[in-house]
Symmetry: C2
Subunit: 115 residues, 2 copies
């Protein structure tokens, strides 16, 4: 199991509950009990997910002993997006090539003897 | 362990060897032995990674019995990028707010009694 930063980010994102927690935190800081509310989950189960997100650097937690609000950290998401971006661009390039190909076929049909 | 599509994509990306394989495939199709070459890895070890990528839909494999070339599939990467994009935008928005805040401080200093 690799522990490089990008791998830790992707591993943390590989769970729908953790992604939902991040989506909630994008609207502002929240306490563990606020985060637990929409999921039918125990506080320890939510805390476990928060620990994964925290060790991946995707969230930080406040110092207030009672409340310890969770806060989304954008940097690791930026790095992950940056990595994917390169291959999304590749994907778009190949879709563009497919478009060219389909256009060429259609033009060929338009100019062919059958039309 | 969740098996939804987005989780499978992120889980597949959570490994540096698998990301390197995808990076290689962005340049064109490749056989298992071509993929194994740059990594100091056995063919079965590479095949294991390819199975993870294939079941996440990130690659497909040709039907030629001897060669079975691997091909990058862009769609799951697009979906993963789409998910992150929303939170990257959030990140950019908060950096923009930080910029505004720093500007406001500097302007405040400029207009203040100390200057």
């Amino acid at each position: 199991m690799s522990t490089d930063r990008l791998s830790a980010t992707f591993a943390a994102l590989a769970d729908p509950t953790r992604r939902a927690i991040l989506a909630r935190l994008a609207h502002g800081e929240a306490s563990v009990s606020e985060l637990a509310e929409p999921f039918d989950m125990s506080l320890p189960a939510v805390s476990k997910h928060l620990k994964v997100l925290e060790s991946a650097g995707l969230i930080t937690r406040g110092r207030e002993a009672q409340w310890r609000p969770c806060k989304l950290e954008a940097m690791p998401l930026r790095d992950a997006a940056g990595w994917i971006e390169a291959y999304r661009r590749f994907g778009e390039a190949s879709f563009a090539r497919l478009d060219d190909y389909l256009k060429a076929i259609q033009e060929g049909e338009g100019n062919g003897p059958a039309s």
